[in-house]
């Protein structure tokens, strides 16, 4: 009996130790010296594993957070212009193949050291892969050399002239010899403090920032993957701000501040042009006639969203060709005729599967509306939806190109038309729809080759027209983007890129 009680007691002590051992109490004393606000921002997905700003495979969600921490020589403003950041000014050579940047005085890294030409040369050399031969950032593949003319001047030489080049100089500047894997040091208005996977990312105001200092002393990004929980957390006041919400979520948040902008991406039914049935242009065109994009916007997005007709969204200004939006007027009769030409009718229906990443509600909803619209074509089309998790979608659909159709959104990492259009060049590694068109390749190459702005705009618009004429994809919309804030939070600004600028956001008590 004694032994038994002993065993029982021991087991209980062990259990207790298991629970107590986890929580080592280290009182993080709040000093509150600045008396400034802490902003809590809800984000729908955790950041990537690597917070290396030069890794081009980073997701949009990571880039929009890092925007607050890292800066390039130049940075985009809310109008989509490039404004000087770490650089004060730049000049371009006559032939547009040499750019000379003058660094701003007194720009400091988060570790306190001042930015020198050496840091810039190191950062750009690293990002362009000049020492390894393999560029980390594909946009910098054109860089032939980076050198420091003096302590405050850096000269970048290109292999081929490129007037769009300044847009790529938003590449982050990091301290000479540093590796982001060992510590995150940038020059932005916030400095990185910590992260806890699937929980949060914390950053603090950088007091020595060269520009206008951030309004909030501390920003915590909380990872809240469930859409309903995000809404609940906004209603309860557990978080101060959340972006990228949908119309249905916003409907429950009427007493908070709601701002409407645009997601800056192109949502479409992307079709596998390389495989049957969508290797036949008639079939693709039939789908374009059969899907009324306004219906998709009305039913899946409550009428919020901006219809587009090619791989470009309105924030691109002069590059965006609004006339392509109605290139295919919804016309069921026309759709049926084209399908009949391709050999499909009610007796021999066109059957295919739309593969959708299940974590993106707007895409799943849009796919459902598309299937319903196609059902109304008298049984000539039988589409079904297959929802897959994100990792599977990424490896099978995007990289493996094993799909018939998919609904997703394609965004741009820089505000250059080529960021949207380079994907559809026949041999592009990003060309997951397998679009092959010699005219497109020629127009794209001509656009890159020219130094004349008007000519370049015209050629990029040609690219868009070809995508529309060939019905490469069933284009739908640039999704509406809702930002919801507590009433005491002000100052949020939309950008034409997928970024979240928190430096200007203010929170009052």
């Amino acid at each position: 009996m004694t032994k038994r009680i002993l065993t029982l007691a021991l087991t209980l002590v062990m259990t207790a130790a298991l629970f107590i051992g986890g929580g080592q109490s280290a009182w993080a004393a709040e000093n509150g010296s600045t008396g400034d606000a802490e902003l809590i921002v809800g984000i729908a997905a955790d950041l990537d594993s690597s917070l290396d700003p030069h890794v081009s495979s980073s997701s949009a969600g990571t880039r929009e957070v890092l925007f607050n921490i890292y800066e390039g020589l130049l940075k985009p403003d809310t109008e989509g212009n490039l404004v000087p950041a770490v650089a004060e000014d730049y000049t371009v050579s006559e032939a547009a193949d040499q750019y000379t940047f003058t660094l701003r005085e007194g720009v400091r890294f988060h570790d306190g050291s001042e930015v020198t030409a050496g840091d810039v040369v190191y950062s750009l050399t690293r990002a362009a892969g000049l020492d390894t031969g393999e560029p980390l950032m594909a946009t910098l593949a054109n860089v032939a050399g980076v050198e420091a003319a003096d302590d405050k001047t850096v000269v970048v030489t290109l292999s081929t002239p490129d007037v769009e080049f300044p847009a790529y100089m938003t590449a982050a500047i990091i301290p000479e010899g540093s590796d982001p894997a060992d510590g995150i040091v940038g020059t932005g208005p916030f400095r990185y403090v910590s992260r806890s996977p699937q929980e949060n990312i914390v950053m603090e105001r950088f007091e020595d920032y060269w520009g206008e200092k951030a309004r909030c002393a501390k920003v915590t990004f909380r990872v809240i993957e469930d859409g309903q929980t995000m809404v609940m957390s906004l209603r309860s006041g557990a978080i101060d701000l959340a972006a990228h919400l949908e119309a249905s979520q916003v409907a429950e948040l009427a007493d908070l501040t709601v701002l409407e902008g645009s997601m800056n991406l192109v949502q479409a039914v992307y079709l596998n042009n390389a495989q049957p049935p969508f290797d036949e242009p008639l079939v693709r065109q039939a789908l374009c006639y059969g899907v009324d994009k306004q219906m998709v916007i009305d039913l899946a997005g409550d009428g919020h969203g901006f219809a587009v007709g090619s791989s470009m969204y309105p924030a691109f200004g002069k590059y965006f060709d609004a006339e392509l939006t109605d290139f295919y007027q919804p016309d069921a009769q026309k759709a049926l005729e084209l399908l009949a030409q391709a050999g499909y009718d009610a007796a021999h229906p066109l059957a295919f599967t739309i593969t959708v990443p299940s974590n993106y509600t707007p895409h799943v909803d849009a796919a459902q509306v598309v299937v319903n619209l196609l059902d109304q074509l008298g049984g000539a089309v039988k589409a079904e939806i297959q929802q897959v998790e994100w990792a599977t979608w990424y490896s099978d659909v995007y990289q493996g190109r094993q799909f018939e159709a998919t609904v997703c959104g394609m965004d741009a990492s820089t505000l250059t038309a080529s960021a949207m259009l380079s994907r559809f060049v026949s041999d592009s590694p990003k060309n997951f729809i397998g679009f092959v068109n010699a005219d497109y390749d020629a127009a794209y190459a001509a656009a890159l080759a020219t130094e004349d702005d008007a000519e370049q705009v015209a050629r990029f618009r040609d690219c868009q027209s070809i995508l529309a004429q060939q019905a490469a994809n069933v284009y739908i919309q640039d999704l509406a983007d809702f930002v919801v804030m507590q009433p005491n939070v002000t100052g949020y600004r939309f950008y034409p890129l997928y970024v979240m600028d928190l430096g200007c956001v203010e929170k009052t008590a």
Binding site: R4, L8, T15, S56, P197, T229
Partner: protein, 313 residues
């Protein structure tokens, strides 16, 4: 003592088997960890090189052995999708899930034991019939739904807690427990309903036994018989059941953590499965399995203490 040794052996073998099965499961499900890591830079050659670098091209059993020896010596390896050690990734999260599960489990006991006894005592009265009917309803409610109702009623309307809010135990221990209270209750209620029903019927079964009649004949009151004779026998199946519910409770807390936005292992587990971050998943699966197996072991020891007739071999 022999009983305990034998049980400990079974416990270790079970854990070993679970970890092996979890390890093998990831060889079967589709998705490649290198795809997510390489992103746009993915090419079959780079993926192959990375797989080699990560040691993924070696034999499954060699890798399992490496993992096992590492795990036993306290090195749980490096996470694929976060540039951190697994231990760093999980820091602070195990406490949340363990505290939530334990709290829910204690709540199940705190609610069901008194209620079960009371209902058995009041058998046939109106209050008993009302509770028995209600029990059926509560048993059928999934915890995540109760979670949503609780956030709405107690969080948004009555403002007893801030839905989506959370504090670490280091910052405020009572605040931490406060944030766990409603999630724990949401997990506990359906289970408590089951245990109440089990305990009530177990007591009523025992009441028909011969020894009960003998006890009455010796002049004991109904309460005296219940407390002194019946309970000790009636509680045995309940203890076993309580130990088994713990697996359900841990599984339930993984879902409920999502509803209440608690930063526990559940969210990490789901995300890591999505990311194909096998080292993290493997570690969490083994920890959860260890927790469940260990509680069952504990229940066996407790049962044996209550009823010395239960022996092995």
């Amino acid at each position: 003592m022999r009983y305990v040794l034998k049980k400990t052996g079974v416990l270790l073998v079970t854990l070993l088997l679970i970890s092996l099965l979890a390890f093998l499961a990831f060889q079967i499900i589709p998705g490649d960890p290198t795809a997510k890591l390489l992103g746009n830079d993915y090419t079959p050659e780079r993926a192959a090189a990375l797989r080699h670098e990560m040691g993924l091209d070696r034999n499954v059993f060699v890798r399992y052995w490496d993992w096992l020896t590492g795990f036993v010596t306290g090195d749980m390896g490096a996470s694929y999708s976060y540039g951190m050690r697994v231990a760093e990734v999980m820091e602070g999260k195990g406490v949340v899930t363990a505290a939530l599960s334990l709290m829910a489990w204690l709540l199940v006991i705190a609610i069901s034991v008194p209620l079960g006894i009371a209902l058995a005592r009041w058998q046939g009265r109106r209050i008993d019939r009302v509770f028995v009917a209600m029990n059926q309803v509560f048993m059928a409610i999934p915890p995540f739904f109760l979670g949503i109702v609780f956030t709405y009623v107690f969080g948004l309307v009555l403002k007893l807690f801030v839905p989506g809010g959370f504090v670490r135990p280091q910052e405020s221990f009572w605040g931490f427990l406060g944030y766990l209270a409603f999630p724990a209750l949401a997990i506990a209620i359906p289970k408590a309903a089951m245990v109440t029903k089990l305990l009530r019927s177990s007591i009523l079964d025992q009441m028909d036994e011969d020894y009960v009649r003998t006890a009455y004949s010796r002049g004991n009151s109904r309460w005296g018989v219940l407390r002194g004779h019946v309970l000790r026998n009636a509680i045995l199946p309940v203890v076993t059941f309580l130990a088994m519910t713990l697996a359900d409770i841990v599984a339930g807390s993984i879902i409920v953590e999502q509803v209440f936005a608690l930063p526990g292992l559940g969210r990490l587990l789901l995300a890591s499965i999505g990311n194909r971050d096998y080292p993290v998943v493997q570690c969490i699966v083994v920890i959860i399995a260890a927790l469940v197996v260990f509680m069952n072991y504990l229940a066996d020891v407790v049962t044996q203490t209550i009823d010395p007739r239960i022996r092995l071999g």
